[in-house]
Structure formats: C-alpha cells, structure tokens
Amino acid sequence: MIFQAVLSGIVMGCVYALIALSLVIIYKSTDVVNFAAGEFVMIAAYAGLLLLDHLSLNYALMVVLSVGLVFVLGAFFERTALNHIIGFRYAAEAALVPMVVATIGLSFMLKGAVRVIPATEEVLRLPPLFSGPPLFFGDLILQRQDLGIVGVAILVMVLLSVGFNLTATGKALRATSQNPRAAALIGIPVKRMRMMAWAVASGLAGISGILLGPKLLMTPDMGSVVMMGIAASIVGGFTSLIGCVVGGIVLGVVQNLVGIFISPQAIAVTPFFIIMVVLVVRPNGLFGEAMRLKKV
C-alpha cells in the first residue's frame, strides 16, 4: 500500500518536476515567478483535446502543435507585456512587482477565456499517450501512461541538460540569467534570451499539460497544479534545476503519504504548508544558492 503510494508519488513527482523546471527557468532569467504557468499547462491540455477530437489529428502531431501553441504564447507574452514593463533595464529588480502582477493577470485571462467556452463546463479527459493494460511488478501496479510520464520526464531533463550545458544558446541563456548586464556587454542579445527562456519554459509547461491531461480531471481550474510546481521548486531551492527534480519527486511522494497517514482532505493543503515551512525554516531549499545581498 505504501509502496504503491510511493510509486505513484514518483510518477506525479516527475510532472511536478517539469512544472517546477518551467518556473525556475523563468525565475533564473528574469527573477519573476510565473503565476500563469499552471494555465499554460491547462491550455496545452485543452488544445490537445481540441486537436484530437475535432480535427482528428494523430497523437504526435497533436503534441507538437499543443506544445508549440503554449511555446509561442509564452514567447509572445514576454515579448509584449513583460518586455514593455522591464523597459530598458537589464535586471528585473525594480520592475519585479508589476511583472508578477502581469503574470497573475495573464493567468486569469487564460482561465476566464477557457471558462467561457460552454464545452469546458463538463469535466473532460485527454486520451493518454500510452494506453493498454497496466504492468505488474509483484504487488505494484503501474499504468503504461505512468511509465511514459517518467520516460518523457527523463528525456526532457536530459535534453535540457544537454541544451543548457553544451549548446551555445544554452550557455548564452545561462549567462543572461547570471548577469544580464555583463551578458549584454559581451554581445548576447538579452531581450531575445529572455523571450527564449519564456518560450522554453512555456513549452515545458505544455508538455506537462499533455502528460497531465489524461491523469487529472480537466477543468479550467486545473492550473492550480502550478502550486505543486512552486512547492517542488521551493523545496529544491528556487534556483536549482536539479532541485526541481528532487523537489518534485519528494513532493509527489509526501503528498501521497499524507493522504494515507493523515487524511485525504489534507492532501489539498500539503503543498501550501510545505511552501510556508520551507520558506520560513530554510528559504534556500535543498540546493538553492544563498540570496545575494545588495551592495551598499
């Protein structure tokens, strides 16, 4: 019973990790928490359903288009709204609050827009990528979709790793997030890098949406899963990519264990409780770097 909970916790944890990665990539490049990340997840899921059901596209094409949609959406939002707020500044520091408020507004826009569509009133479900009979390991049951989720998550993390460490663009992105002014001075197009960071992060959220759509009940409010991502990234340390993965898995497992040992009702409040406790006790999480002090 416990092992089953741990197993499914790990699976969900992988999805949380993807959302957390999305959040942390944006945070590292612009110091902003993207409160609309959950809505990107939701949009991808609904878009996928639309493409599958109404346009009868094959699954692979649907994935590409749905993820591509939020990819573009994220880039567009950054390029228009956020870019306008940050203006000529290199570092987001002073304009941080308006940018975060803008992401809050965006999340409500997306949620509100989807809610208007009458079809979304009923709870929907996206067909899974991997279907078929579940796999059995002794007493443990594993759905094929779950295995697929872990596989996709691992693949994504490997690609991100390669991308950030081995490609020129990836290194440029890292440079921009560490020191935008210096990056600009050596010729890195900082504005474009920010947009790319948002695009990649949004794409990650989109992938999470495709993976979550079959597992969770699809409603316009399913974006609240962003809280899991936030909790995961805080546990891992808001600036660490590895932390996202560890944090996600920890969160997924803890959540299930809470459901067993405390009460199913308590599951809803677990991420919030964890966020509060971690930020008070150890704001750096497990792997995060200490917050830099401003020079006087």
Binding site: Y27, D31, V32, V33, A81, H84, I85, R89, A94, A95, L96, V97, P98, V100, V101, A102, I104, G105, L106, S107, F108, M109, L110, K111, G112, A113, R115, V116, M227, I230, I234, F238, Q265, A268, V269, P271, F272, F273, I275, M276, L279, V280, P283, M291, V296
Partner: protein
C-alpha cells in the same frame, strides 16, 4: 500638513457619512446592497494598499485576515452574545495578532518569496476555514443573525448602510492620519530604501511587522462589516480570486494613494453590474475581463487611474509624496 486632514479630505469623509444617511431613503435595496459590498471592498483595499503601496511589501495573506474578521465577529455574536462593536474589535485584534505572527518570518523574505509564502498562508487559511467543521461550519459555512447595535437593528440593506458608511469613514480617516504621520513616513521609507531607513534609525523588520499588523486589522474590520449586511459565510469568498479582485482594484485605481484605491474599488466593483446590464449578459466573461484589465493596467498605466487624473487637477499634497509619474514601478531614474 502632517498634523491635520486637508479640508477636501475632511469634506470627503463627511460626504460619505451624509451619503450613508441619505441614500437609504432614496435608493432601492439592490443598489444599497451593491453599495455595502463596495464599501467593504474599500476597507479591504485600503488595508491591502497600506501593505503593498505604502510599505512596499508584496504580500497576499490579506484575505485570510478578512476571514478571521468575518468568522470571528459572527461567532462571537451568535455563540457568545458579544455585542457587535466588541466582536469586531476582538476579531480585528486577533487578525492583527496573526498578522504580527506572519509578519516576523515574512519580514525576512524578499519580494517573490514573500508573495509565495503569504499566498501559501492564505491558501492554508482557506483550507482551515473549509475543513474546521466545529468552528467554521466546514464547507457548509456559517449562518448568523444580523447584529443589533445599541438597540438599532441592522440586517437589511437599508438599515446596515449607514453603519457601514460610518465605519468606512472612520477607516479612511484613520488611514489618512496614518499615512501623514511619522509612522506613515517610516513605512514609505522602508519601501524606498531599507539602507536609508536603517541609517536613519528605523528598525526595518519591526516596521514591516507593524505594517502587516495594521493591514490585518483593516481586513479584520472589513470582515466585521461583512456581518452587518450578510447572513451567511463560507470559505468560497475567502480565496485567491477575491484577493486578485482586491489587488486589481488597488492597481487600477492607483497604489500608494487612498483616493486612488477608492477610485479603483468603484470602477472594478461596478464592473460586474455593467456586464450584467449588457444586452447579452457578459457576466461569464468577468474573469477574463478582470485578468485583461490587470495586465493592461499594469503594463500601460502602472500609476493607476488616479495617477493619470491627479496632475490635471490637484497640486502636490503632503504625506509620503507620490507624484503620478511614479507608482509601483521603479521610481523615476534620476537624471544621471
């Protein structure tokens, strides 16, 4: 300048009280209900802006204190037969204490972490309101009787309107005096530069805690006011969307200015009515419209409506100077 209200401000407060007495005689019940809701939002929004705009603390626990105010007042009145004014005072004080408790750890956190931690707290509070059956009635909520204040029966929109208006006027008055005072300047100072504040002898952390407490008390009072014209509460009104609504009011109206905030309350508060009155009710678009307004306002009009209007009509006033060009965005870069 710092010791008294300006004539216009005093006039405004008297106008609110006068409207409180006069309007119930002329307007029908539904308008008065809307009015009561707007006035409650106003107290909430002013409290939020004291933290957000004046002290520069981007914190979202506000709605939890509103809940403490509502449940506290309702429970003290209906279960313990405590008179209304005392119930509100006690609940507001409890909210203030919780605000202090939150304030201490929160004061150590930087912008985004502060927002996240307080947001998480608000969600936890909503969960508590929703699941603590014996006290809050759980998901089914709490019903309560309308309070009787020194023999005056409230409960209908007509009878509660003047009381709400009076409390609003007092709240605005207190906020005005606060922002013009030494403490008000202290709050602005920690917003503008913690280094300068510290070097001037201000204990930044303590000031943040005080700001949290004051903001929480305002929210608690708003909660008490809620019990005057409502008869039921459950956790649904104490969630994120409510908080974002109040935030939108503050942003649209003009953060850092009490009149601005009131303007925002009116504009955003009346929006649903406007949508409802459209030939094909656009009410279902409410969420989308709020979100769009928030994004558009923060991108193009960060100083709020009041920030746009003020320079055309008003000279500079005292108290934590804010010119319209400045807002919750970065202050004007000095000509370097």
């Amino acid at each position: 300048m710092y010791a008294e209200l300006r004539a216009s401000e005093l006039a405004g407060l008297l106008l609110i009280i006068a409207a409180g007495l006069a309007l119930p005689q002329i307007l029908p019940g539904y308008f008065l209900y809307t009015g009561n809701s707007l006035m409650t939002y106003a107290i909430l929004a002013i409290g939020l802006d004291l933290l957000l705009g004046w002290s520069g603390q981007f914190a979202f626990a506000h709605i939890a204190f509103f809940g403490i105010g509502i449940y506290g007042t309702a429970l003290l009145e209906s279960r313990a037969e405590v008179p209304f004014l005392l119930s509100v005072a006690i609940s507001a004080a409890v909210a203030g204490l919780v605000g202090i408790a939150i304030g201490f750890p929160a004061a150590r956190l930087r912008t985004v972490y502060l927002a996240l931690a307080t947001y998480a707290f608000a969600e936890c509070a909503q969960w508590v309101f929703r699941t603590w059956d014996p006290v809050t009635g759980g998901p089914d909520g709490l019903r309560f009787r309308p309070p009787v204040i020194f023999g005056y029966e409230t409960g209908s929109d007509q009878s509660s309107f003047p009381v709400v208006a009076l409390i609003l006027a007092l709240a605005i008055g207190a906020a005005l005096y606060l922002t013009k005072s030494k403490l008000g300047r202290q709050m602005c100072a920690i917003r503008d530069s913690e280094h300068v504040a510290t070097a001037s002898g201000i204990d930044v952390r303590r000031t943040k805690v005080i700001a949290f407490a004051i903001s929480a008390v305002f929210a608690g009072i708003a909660g008490g006011v809620y019990t005057l014209f409502q008869t039921f509460v459950n956790a649904d009104v104490l969630g994120v969307s409510q908080l974002v609504t109040v935030l939108t009011m503050v942003v649209i109206g003009g953060s850092g200015s009490i009149i601005g905030v009131l303007l925002g309350v009116v504009v955003i508060g009346l929006l649903p009515e406007l949508l409802r009155a459209m030939p094909q009710s656009l009410l279902v678009w409410q969420e989308f419209i709020y979100g769009s307004i928030l994004v558009l306002a923060i991108v193009f009009m960060p100083q709020g409506l009041w920030g746009l209007i003020k320079p055309r009509f008003i000279r500079r006033t005292g108290g934590c100077g804010r010119t319209p060009a400045q807002s919750i965005r970065a202050p004007a870069e000095a000509s370097q």
